[in-house]
Amino acid sequence: MNIKMPKWFYQLASPKWSYDIMGMLMPWFGLAALLLLVTGIVWGLMFAPPDYQQGNSYRIIYIHVPSAILAQSCFMLMAVAGIIGMVWKMKVAHIVAKSAAPIGASMTIIALSTGAIWGKPTWGAWWVWDARLTSMLILLFLYLGIIALYSAFSNKASGDQAASILTLVGVVNIPIIKYSVEWWNTLHQPASFTLTKKPAMPPEMWVPLLIMVLGYYCFFAYVLMARTRIELLEREHKSGWVTALLTDTP
């Protein structure tokens, strides 16, 4: 497959270039994440009004929903990175996918545990075998499988490819998993945010939520870039630019 891509795309393939670009972007994302997360959490936990039914317990939404969104976005990102890595033989894409996996797994764990804490007062159970919960649990298993596969290969390039294949298979399966468990049992409420519909909450509730989601994305980007840069250094430790980098900085 040979599809012509714009120039920046090929520059991304160069480890040094992407290392530098990420180094430039990282502080901005870190700052944005800090501002957004602090604003969102203070607003959401202290100033947003309580819910008419759930009272204050609904406030866990400000942690729960963004991490659930991130958990899924992260998997999509890994699948896209996997395709790019396989089709254009781009090492950096594989490294991004590998660095993203543990972050996605952590987000899934956060979503599951905050969901359990939220579920107890509202549904009356820590855990129910409901569609959303079950498919998130399966997502966690997929993440764990991918991470295990990365570490099972002593040769990193092979591990990258193997994990990409598994990610792609997993991404094909996610709609099926969702569909199957949805037909099987349903309790969880529908999505709070959709692109097409107006949010079913007043602004003083959803604006902090939106801020939190954006903050999570910035935080995710920040951590992802940090992890990617470390992995880049590790894999390229013999190449000229890393040596130069290490000798230049005292």
Binding site: F141, L144, G145, L149, N173, I176, I177, V181
Partner: protein, 222 residues
């Protein structure tokens, strides 16, 4: 297609020469089912209730158990290398291997399942659903399992890893497979369930051979 045919024949011949590969999953299936009346309760009502789930879980585990060796021997003795350096399609060969694997595990499990259903007091109305769901569902299990087996064939400790990679992907098949049997036991129509299992089978049949071939190439070139 000729090549596919030849590949299936060769694998079946190999399985016949090495019968433990056929017998082990069946014996495992039988043994696991036997454990439940002993551990849960020998009461007919209780067993009939959980029978669809147990039989399906046992069939799934028996398939998974046999997955580890699917490509291992070929990898170790150089047969896989010979296929990769031949002009024949690796995807087609992988498909042939999976089909013969299914014939020697899933297919036989489905044939054996009525006996186990009787042991677990599953109502006789559920028999067609049980056999039908296993016949349509287990090929999907073999296909997905083969992806995991191909990814881990070159690794020293691949066996445990396969379960971790493959089990999450097995869940939809398990849900619909067991639901088919439950519906059958309640005398409800099962055609909808079987259609879904069929859709999943066709879907994996279309995609899995390519994933298996890519994974095998990767494992060999590692």
């Amino acid at each position: 297609m000729n090549f596919l045919n030849a590949a299936i024949k060769r694998e079946l011949l190999l399985a016949l020469r090495n019968r433990s590969e056929i017998i082990n999953p069946l014996a495992f299936f039988l043994l696991v089912i036997t454990l439940f009346p002993l551990a849960v309760s020998p009461e007919a009502k209780v067993l009939a209730n959980i029978a669809p789930g147990i039989i399906w879980v046992a069939a799934l585990l028996a398939t998974l158990l046999s997955m580890d060796s699917l490509f291992k021997n070929d990898y170790d003795d150089g047969s896989l290398e010979q296929i990769v350096v031949s002009p024949q399609s690796l995807a087609l060969l992988a498909l042939g291997k999976v089909i013969s694997h299914w014939l020697s595990t899933g297919f036989l499990l489905a044939l054996l399942s009525p006996v186990l259903a009787v042991m677990l007091f599953l109502p006789s109305e559920a028999m067609p659903a049980l056999v039908g769901s296993l016949l349509i569902g287990t090929p999907t299990l073999s296909l997905i399992g083969a992806i995991g087996a191909a990814l881990t064939v070159g690794l020293r400790k691949g066996g445990v890893l396969i379960s971790l990679l493959v089990l999450p992907l097995y869940i939809p098949v398990l849900i619909f497979g067991a639901a088919t049997v439950q519906a059958g036991a309640l005398n409800l129509p099962i055609s909808g369930h079987l259609a879904l299992l069929g859709a999943m089978m066709v879907f994996t049949l279309l995609l899995a051979p390519f994933a298996i071939a890519a994974a095998l190439k990767l494992s060999i070139r590692n």
